[in-house]
């Protein structure tokens, strides 16, 4: 279980998370939705310890990442997670099988002699074969995502964190990735957090959804409940409307532009 309590994070002059409270139950897939820059990826990075929160606690199976000072404890904490990066983040200088098994050396006691077979098995799980010796630069975007997914599950984590798993993919490949996420959840019985702004993906893969807006959780509900939500923020986001309470940047500039135009007109007079 992942328990996120009052997590706050600011970057210089810009608060990103303003007190997030969320619980992810074992075995569920929680989709975190929200607009670009709302803090959902930062939250995911806080969970795995890539970003240190300014306040609050993230407790995973009784371990609070902020309180772990011993390196072995941090390793034990990270061992529980697989992380799928938005762009895959595959290592350019390594072959595919080296990429997939990279973490095994640091996270497990598996003998290096078995790495290649493990890479083959994990790649098969994500529907890829005979690409072990290629380089990431030789793969398409969808294949890179799948290899990154194979790498995320190689050490058999208890939790998988997906950062925008379908971003940049065509609709068919996006659905393939969604199916893979569902298949992996069934096969590996893992708990997952999926950060996305792709509503189709969120509805398909999640057992619960949370919407974040301006660093706060607006709503947490089952996907079917979320679909019929009357909350104007949730409604605007899931319907993908430009008009509504969520102001996009273009809208924020409008009063300034109007004021500028007024001043210019005044100056001309």
């Amino acid at each position: 279980m992942i328990d996120i309590v009052g997590v706050k994070k600011s970057y210089p002059g810009r608060p990103v998370l303003r007190g997030i409270d969320l619980t992810v139950m074992s075995g569920e897939t929680l989709a975190i939705i929200g607009g670009s820059g709302c803090g959902k990826s930062t939250l995911l990075k806080c969970v795995i310890g890539l970003v240190r929160p300014d306040a609050g606690a993230i407790v995973v199976d009784g371990m609070d990442i902020a309180r772990l000072t011993n390196e072995a404890d941090v390793a034990r904490y990270r061992r529980r997670f697989g992380y799928l990066f938005q762009e895959g983040a595959l290592f350019d200088s390594m072959s595919i099988w080296e990429n997939v098994t990279f973490g095994l050396r640091y996270l497990t006691d598996i003998a290096p002699g078995r790495y290649r077979q493990i890479a083959r098995d994990k790649l098969a799980l994500v529907g890829l074969k005979d690409i072990e010796d290629l380089r990431p630069s030789e793969l398409s975007g969808g294949m890179k995502k799948r290899v990154a997914l194979a790498r995320a599950i190689a050490a058999e984590p208890s939790y998988i964190l997906y950062d925008e798993p379908t971003t940049g993919l065509d609709p068919i490949m996006s659905d393939v990735i969604n199916d893979l996420i569902l298949d992996l959840q069934k096969a590996l019985k893992t708990t997952a957090i999926v950060v996305t702004h792709d509503m189709k993906s969120a509805y398909k893969v999640s057992s619960r959804m949370a919407m974040i807006h301006e660093g706060r959780v607006l709503a947490v509900a089952h996907p079917e409940v979320m679909k019929i939500s009357n909350d104007p923020y949730v409604r605007q986001f899931i319907d993908g409307l430009s008009h509504g309470p969520i102001k996009m940047k273009l809208k924020e500039f409008e009063p300034e532009l109007a004021a500028d135009n007024g001043a210019a007109a005044g100056g001309a007079r």
């Binding site: 795995i48 310890g49 390196e71 990270r78 762009e87 983040a89 595959l90 290592f91 973490g103 996270l107």
Partner: protein
């Protein structure tokens, strides 16, 4: 800009500089800690030694070879002007190369070539989240990326400097023999009658200091890259300029320390 705006801008600049120094100090501390804390990635060290050393060898050798040649030419011309014959060409060339030019020029060339490559590679890894991926896969970028590069520089730069010592002195001999008609025995006597092991050690010790300076600066600029492709370009340029300037500044202080210790 009014006075207040200028003071604010200056303050922000100073704060940013202080923050950079602080982050660099933290990185250095982390490097020292990881050197003791975990087994060294020797495979990565060897890969980097090949990239930094073997691939830099032709360019450093050629650079110092021509430096030795021009030094012999200038020394021969000057001493001919004053004494009517080329005197102590071997002494001047070998001392200048071994104590000063070899370590400094080799370091500058390696900083421009391998240092830039390191900053660009780590910078690209940073902006494409590969550095974050290292964390999530259970290792630390300092351990996996920086220490192998630091050690590779530490082992390889002194070797390049020794090769440069020879190539520079050889370049000087070519000009002395062909252009200035100085017999080989005289050129060699000029060297070996005056040079002692401490003179060689002077330049050799410098190369270790420069290796640490270049590798730390280039790695630091690389892993603190922000801002996509443009950021990678900026950090690569900054890495090369900073490491070259630092080598020249450190050269003075290391020379002063070595002189005070009598290694000169």
């Amino acid at each position: 800009m009014n006075d207040r705006g200028f003071v604010n801008a200056l303050g922000a600049e100073l704060l940013a500089m202080a923050e950079t120094f602080g982050r660099f100090a933290f990185l250095t501390r982390s490097v020292v800690a990881w050197l003791y804390r975990a087994p060294i990635e020797w495979r990565q060290v060897l890969i980097q030694m090949s990239r930094i050393g073997v691939e830099s060898l032709p360019v450093t050798t050629m650079t110092t070879f021509f430096t030795g040649m021009v030094l012999a030419l200038q020394t021969g011309a000057s001493s001919k002007h004053f004494f009517n014959e080329p005197l102590f060409v071997g002494t001047v060339v070998s001392f200048a190369m071994v104590m000063e030019l070899s370590p400094v020029m080799t370091s500058l060339v390696v900083a421009g070539r391998a240092g830039a490559a390191i900053a660009a590679e780590l910078g690209t890894m940073k902006v494409t989240e590969q550095i974050d991926a290292l964390y999530t896969l259970g290792t630390d970028p300092v351990r996996y990326l920086i220490i192998p590069r630091l050690l590779a520089f530490f082992f390889v730069l002194p070797v390049l400097v020794i090769v440069s010592d020879f190539s520079g002195t050889f370049g000087g001999w070519v000009v002395s023999y062909v252009k200035l008609q100085i017999p080989t025995s005289v050129y060699l006597d000029d060297i070996f009658n005056n040079m002692e092991i401490r003179h060689f050690m002077h330049g050799f010790i410098k190369s270790f200091v420069f290796s640490v300076v270049i590798s730390l600066i280039c790695c630091f600029k690389g892993i603190t890259t922000t801002g996509g492709a443009e950021g990678v370009g900026k950090s690569t340029t900054a890495a090369v300029v900073l490491s070259m300037v630092s080598v020249l500044i450190m050269d003075y202080f290391v020379t002063a320390i070595l002189s005070a210790l009598g290694i000169t």
